[in-house]
């Protein structure tokens, strides 16, 4: 139901909206509301009863496709939230986009809904091939969504994204093929049970292919080159979805692979963890470093995504309890924070038509609410205590210490300093620099349908910092179960 609603809704959008394109937006919002309600019901059930499964078409696995709902799947909560807000935000934003002709707008909502359906599907599927199909749904709609913005190099960015993305999907497919050859099964739980006696060398190749494929999707250094262009050029609501949610698909994929392999105990992944830890640390530094030199506000946010993915991957690689908890919370919180920032940036661009920090100087005086929300986002992503970002970074740092890798804790703090520098630049430009262009003081605050999502997300950034225990109730049992598979960790 959670997957079907947006899928069917997406396909029907152009038909429903044939008479009047305004219907499309309300339709999309309605579909997403239904989905969210269903998702919340599922999440409540998972906290009460623990993981449960649903068999598609009544076929029992390993033959049928299994939808398995466990704690990792709680990702759909954030998908629904950010997706719903992004659709609401798109109401005004799409009307204004140059690259999108007015009659085409329903197709934009189709793509957006398809993308969200894929995201929901991928977090609850229990079948590897089904996972691949959802991965492709996400990727294909993502490529198309990048291209609609009408910026001058949008198509080029989309093409670059497509070329690299397609190769990574291919690697994932190859790995699925290898796993199938080894175990004769595509159901994740079943594979895990059967992997025990499998030959380690082909399994190693499969895990390698999975890792590279997923890390391209997650834009981990050195596989990040597609991300800055694609995320900076896409329309702002799409940037928020891409940056907050779609890159996390790689992380979810990695978590699933870990679940499978740890569950079978057939292979020691310490080497992989080492590599992930290092790449994560390098990503943090490189992403933050490049972000400092960006003048384009969305480009800066895109590079910041790379360094935040670095945090998550480092937390994964540490493979200690706190590290994993921190990484999982950061998946949620980063989605919140980055959506705030990208949607806020969208508001600024919508009202002023300018994208660079130099030109946007002084905008905090004319658009106080947007600037305030973005400042909260900025503080939050740096990780200053009362906000959401602090909690995850604290946990990841604790995890580094717990795993005896103090060096990585330093890398983390160092990265946070870099991040601090470039967000301070942004806040400074908003409030304290004299406006480069007197017109900037005359712009009006963003319209309510765009402002409300931004403010709501900013408020959540603060609330999640205070009520940090909430996601923990989901994540802790999942992490404990994962780690028990590898012998206590």
């Amino acid at each position: 139901m959670v997957v079907l609603a947006p899928l069917v809704g997406a396909v029907l959008t152009p038909i429903v909206a044939r008479r009047d394109r305004r219907i499309a937006q309300w339709w999309a919002l309605g579909i997403m509301t239904v989905t969210s309600v269903a998702a919340v019901a599922l999440m409540v059930r998972v906290t009460e009863e623990g993981p449960f499964s649903y068999y598609l078409g009544g076929w029992v696995p390993p033959i049928g496709i299994e939808f398995r709902f466990d704690e990792v799947s709680a990702f759909i909560g954030i998908v629904c939230l950010v997706g719903w807000l992004a659709i609401l935000y798109s109401f005004r934003y799409t009307e204004w986009l140059r690259g999108l002709e007015k009659p085409r707008i329903p197709y934009y909502y189709t793509l957006l809904l398809l993308n969200l359906a894929g995201l929901i599907g991928i977090s609850i599927t229990g079948d590897l091939f089904n996972f691949f199909v959802f991965l492709e749904i996400i990727s294909l709609s993502g490529y198309a969504l990048v291209a609609v913005s009408g910026e001058r190099i949008a198509e080029m960015a989309a093409f670059k994204y497509l070329l690299i993305g397609a190769v990574s999907s291919l690697l994932v497919l190859l790995a699925i093929g290898l796993i199938y050859a080894l175990t004769g099964s595509l159901n994740m739980a079943d594979i895990s049970a059967r992997l025990g006696g499998a030959a380690t060398r082909p399994l190693g190749v499969a895990i390698g292919a999975f890792t590279v494929g997923f890390m391209v999707k997650a834009a981990l250094f050195p596989l990040h080159i597609w991300l800055p262009d694609a995320h900076a050029i896409a329309p702002s609501p799409v940037s928020a979805v891409l940056s907050g949610l779609v890159v996390k698909v790689g992380i979810i994929g990695m978590l699933r692979v870990y679940q499978i392999v740890y569950g079978s105990g057939s292979m020691n992944l310490d080497g992989l963890n080492q590599v992930l830890m290092w790449l994560g640390a390098i990503s943090i530094i490189i992403g933050a470093f490049f972000a400092i030199f960006q003048d384009d506000i969305k480009m800066m946010l895109a590079y910041s995504t790379i360094s935040n993915i670095g945090y998550i991957v480092m937390g994964l690689g540490l493979a200690s309890q706190y590290g994993l908890i921190g990484a999982s919370i950061h998946v949620f919180n980063h989605a919140l924070i980055k959506a705030t920032l990208f949607l806020g940036a969208g508001c600024l661009i919508y009202r002023t038509g300018k994208r660079t920090l130099t030109e946007l100087a002084g905008v905090g005086r004319s658009m106080p609410w947007t600037a305030a929300a973005m400042s909260i986002g900025a503080i939050s992503i740096v990780g200053i205590p009362p906000t959401a970002g602090f909690l995850c970074k604290w946990y990841i740092a604790l995890g580094a210490v717990q795993a005896g890798q103090t060096f990585f804790a330093f890398a983390l703090v160092f990265g946070a300093l870099f991040i601090f520098i470039y967000y301070i630049r942004m806040v400074n430009a908003f409030y304290f620099r004299p406006p480069a262009d007197p017109e900037i003081l005359a712009v009006k605050e963003a319209p309510p349908s765009m402002l409300v999502p931004v403010l709501l997300l900013a408020a959540l950034c603060l609330i999640m910092g205070v009520l940090g225990r909430l996601p923990l109730t989901f994540i802790e049992p999942a992490v404990t179960r994962l780690l028990s598979g590898m012998g206590g960790g």
Binding site: V133, L163, L174
Partner: protein, 117 residues
């Protein structure tokens, strides 16, 4: 060593195809050629997975009165059918993008496009 390779000639062919595709993707400047490289890579992976399901002297797995085992494993084939559908849509999207790039920039050579940026 050589005998092992010969015995698995189908897999070797897939790896060779994969490398050709990868080379084309990285080394060629023309966007269409890059994309053909990707298609070659896709084909190699599809062929690899279909080859997994082959049983020697196997029949097509079509049930009927004359059907006798052994059968070829039908599951990889059906998976790849889905994979091909995905590949077709990727191709369609990529070609659309190339057309739009050509309309906007007047060229589809990656090095010339980079200069224009």
């Amino acid at each position: 060593m050589i005998e092992a390779l010969w015995h698995n000639i189908d897999y070797v062919a897939c790896v060779v195809l994969f490398c050709i595709g990868l080379y084309a993707m990285i080394a060629k400047d023309n966007l269409i050629k890059k994309f053909i490289g990707l298609n070659i890579m896709e084909t190699s992976v599809f062929a690899f997975i279909v080859a997994l399901g082959v049983v020697e002297d196997g029949d097509a797995p079509i049930m009927g009165s004359g059907a006798t085992p052994p059968f070829i494993n039908p599951l990889p084939q059906s998976l790849i059918l889905t994979g091909i559908v995905v590949a077709v849509s990727t191709t369609a999207l990529a070609l659309t993008l190339i057309i739009r790039i050509h309309k906007q920039c007047g060229t589809i050579e990656a090095d010339e496009l980079r200069e224009m940026e």
